[in-house]
Symmetry: C2
Subunit: 217 residues, 2 copies
């Protein structure tokens, strides 16, 4: 089976999962940590070289503060869990903002934990405009460049993504690493992220293996 | 029904369609012009404000020259057909290359044809690296900026895309307007582009209407 070298993960559906169970929206996030660890172990055993996790975005921080606190806490916990494993870990996002959790500042330079190995990129307070040096702009127009920033990707250390797996049924990238995702195959799992099962990933990998790789050619 | 303002079209599968009929790969492209015109008329009647068509890319031009000639000819014919209709038409792509068809140079400034109206963006010899000012690079690394080009999108006149419809079954964007597609909902039609039917678009629009719009929030 042809395996992807780099998998992108969009773990969506935490809030809808919580609502379905009569919980508050914010209560979904903490149920997303354990699936992430299971996925990490699964991919490491398979020999996947790199993974990128969509933690939270600058857009997400505009949600009610109880939700913001809950997903921030879940991301901090996830990164701290990963740092106890074998991984080459890097947190990427806009650190020049009060929304960036200070606990994660030490992780914004890549560091090998344990025996190192799989590269893990964890996006925290990320935005595609920040990444690409565009001024944030809520209009429908294409963005203007920020005069202060050159055309160098902030995520230049993140390689091309072969396969994006998104949980929660939505068929879109939602601003996830637009440059690294230009050629990615996109697999959507209808189940919500807290309902993660290994079978989701097995099905995604089987599907990916049957796709051709053209890189736009 | 909530309609998209801007639809992106990836008309894939021309070559596979031709092979299935015992034709040569190159013969598929000319069967893609009439579907495009039907789609244009359909969207105009619906009041869609803007459409972006993925004509051909710089990557595509690396294919055998008979194919290249065939898809170039089909794109020239499509743009000339559209210029006989009511449309505000713009061709976008790298004109500083012998692969750009000279017949289309007059269309590289937006111009109203007929009564104007719907904005149509037609990508010809397009590449996402060209668009974003990156140096082309076939490695897996994130691209480096080209020193000569600032961080201003070459497609700054193209607005955000609400819905991307891709024919031919592949679940990826293949370098299609990465910035304008950051929040796009992506609908995949399994049929090949020359087998276009209005029902494909009706199903895509119905699906789109049922999606929420969060713009990453």
């Amino acid at each position: 089976m042809r395996l992807p070298k780099h998998i992108g993960i969009i773990p969506d559906g935490n809030r809808r999962w919580a609502l379905d169970r009569g919980m508050e929206k914010k209560d979904g996030y903490r149920h997303g940590i354990s699936p992430g660890m299971t996925l990490y172990h699964m991919c490491r055993e398979l020999g996947i070289e790199e993974m990128s996790f969509y933690g939270f975005t600058v857009d997400n921080t505009k949600r009610p503060s109880t939700q913001r606190q809950a997903f921030t806490k879940a991301c901090v916990a996830a990164v701290e869990e990963l740092s106890k494993e074998d991984a080459s870990l890097l947190v990427l996002g806009n650190t020049q903002s009060p929304m960036f959790p200070p606990e994660l500042l030490p992780y914004t330079r890549r560091h090998d934990f344990g025996a190192g190995g799989m590269r893990i990129n964890f996006l925290v307070n990320y935005s595609w405009e920040w990444d690409m040096g565009f001024k944030p702009d809520n209009s429908r127009k294409a963005p203007a460049a920020s005069a202060a920033i050159g055309p160098v990707l902030r995520t230049a250390d993140v390689s091309r993504i072969d396969l994006v797996i998104r949980w929660g049924g939505r068929r879109r990238l939602s601003g996830f690493l637009p440059v690294q995702s230009v050629y990615s195959d996109i697999y959507v799992v209808d189940d919500y992220w807290p309902d993660f099962r290994k079978e989701h990933v097995e099905a995604a990998l089987k599907w990916y293996s049957d796709q051709d790789v053209t890189l736009g050619g």
